[in-house]
Amino acid sequence: MALQSLDIIRRSATTIRAPDARGAHTGEVAKLIDVTKCIGCKACQIACMEWNDLRDEIGTCSGSYTNPADLSDQSWTLMRFTEYENDKGDLEWLIRKDGCMHCADPGCLKACPAPGAIVQYANGIVDFVEENCIGCGYCVAGCPFNVPRISKKDKKAYKCTLCSDRVAVGLEPACVKACPTGAIVFGSKDDMQQHAAERIEDLKSRGFDQAGMYDPAGVGGTHVMYVLHHADKPELYAGLPKDPHISPMVRLWKGVTKPLAALALLGAAAAGFLHYVGVGPNETTEEDEKAARRELEKQS
C-alpha cells in the first residue's frame, strides 16, 4: 500500500514483521454512529457511492425502507430499518447504518490466506487491498459481522474502507461529511468514546435507561461504534450481534493447526527418511526368486 501516512501494523498471511517503529502517537481513529440521532435519510449511502465510485444495481422494493436489500460489493454501507414495538406498545423505528466495524482483532484478516490482501493500519482502520485478493471468500467466513462481499465481476472482496484515503490526508469519511444531523461523527477513539458518554447521559435523562455504547470487547473493540437506545438488546437493530467474536472454528482453522499440521507433515517425511537410512529398503533378493520357483514346482 502506498499510503505512507498510514502505518500498517498487521498484514494478512504475512510472516515478515510489519513496520511498527513509528507507532500511532496521535491515537486511533473511530467513527461514532449515534443511532438515536439518525433520521434515515441515506445521505451517507449516497456519499459513500460518490466518493468510492460505486453504483449498485437498481433492485426491487422488499417491503422495507432498507434499500438496497443488503450490503454488496457496490454498497459498502447500508441503513437497516427495523420496526420495533417496545414494552409500552409504542413503535420505535430503529435505523442502523451497517458496514464494516473495523475490529481491533479483525476476523477477516485472520482468515485471509493472501499476503497483504487485508491490512490494519496503526490508526485502527482495516482495509482490503483488492489487487492482492485471490477471491477465496475466507474473509467472509472470518467476519463476525457478515460484512465482506465478493464481487461477481472480479471475484474480489469489497467493504467499507472507513475512507482510509480521505483519513490519510486529514479528511473525515464521506458518510460523516454528508450526515445532516450529526448522527455520524469521526475523530480519535478517545474523543468518540467521550462524546458517546455525553450522549448516553443525555439519553438516560430522557428515559432511555438502557442507552449505551456498542464497542464490543469480543473483537478487541471496534473503530466504528454505535450509540444505541437499547444497548442491552443490540439484536433489535437488524441483528447486530450481542457478543461478537471470531468464531472458534475460524480460530482453530487459522491458529494452532497451521504449525501443528506443518510439523506433523515434515515429521512424517523425516521419519520416512530416517527409517530408510536406519533400517533400509525392503528388497527382493535372488533367494526370494528361488524360493518362489521352488514353491511353484511344488504346486505342479
Partner: protein, 219 residues
Amino acid sequence: MNKQTADSVNASTGQIVRYAPSTRITHWLVAISFVLLALSGLAMFYPPLFGLSSLFGGGDTMRAVHPWIGVFMVVVFLVLAGKLHRHMRIQQRDRQWLRQIKDVTANREENLPEVGRYNAGQKLVYLVALLSLIVLLFTGLEIWRAYFTAYFPIDITRFAALLHAFFAFVLMLTIIVHIYAAIWVKGSVRAMTRGTVSYGWAWKHHRAWFRDVTKGSLK
C-alpha cells in the same frame, strides 16, 4: 502381442502383471491431481507457502482451478476405487499384520501372516484416502464460493473450511506414508509404472496372492 491383464502370469519371463494399464493410468491421474491440489491447498492454508501460487499463474487462478482439479480427482479416484474396492476389506489376518507392525517396519516379513493382493497398510491407505476424498468433496463444494457457499449458513461454511483443511492434512499424511512405502519396498514403483512384478517379489510380499495367481501356471 503384449497385452497386460491384471493377475496374468508370464512363465517365460517370471513376471506377474500386478496392475493393468487402465489401473496405472487412473492411479497416476489421481497422483498428479493430488500433487496439484496439495501444492495449491498448502499455498492457501499456510502463508509461508503462498509462493507456490506462482506455479498456478497467481493466487486468483490457483483459487479458480483448485476446485475443478478436486472434482476431476474425485471422479478418477472413483474409477480407481471401482477396480480396487473389492480387495480392500480388512480381514482377520490384516488385524494380525497390524499387531505385528514392528516386524513390518523392521523388514521381518517372514514373521508376518501371509498377505493377499494387498496388505493391511495398503488397505488402510486406500480406506483413509476414500474417506478423506468423500469429506473433501462435500466440504470443498460447500466452500466453493463461485457456486455453492451462498446456499449455506455461515457457521456451516466455517465448519466445512475447518473439516476441509483437517481432511486435507489427513490425506497428505497418508500419502506421505504411501509414497515412502513405495520407495521402501523395492519393486513397488515398477509395479505401478510398468505393471509387472517378479515371482520373488510377489512371493515375498503378497504370498497368498502369488499362490492364487500362479495356481496351475506351470501345467
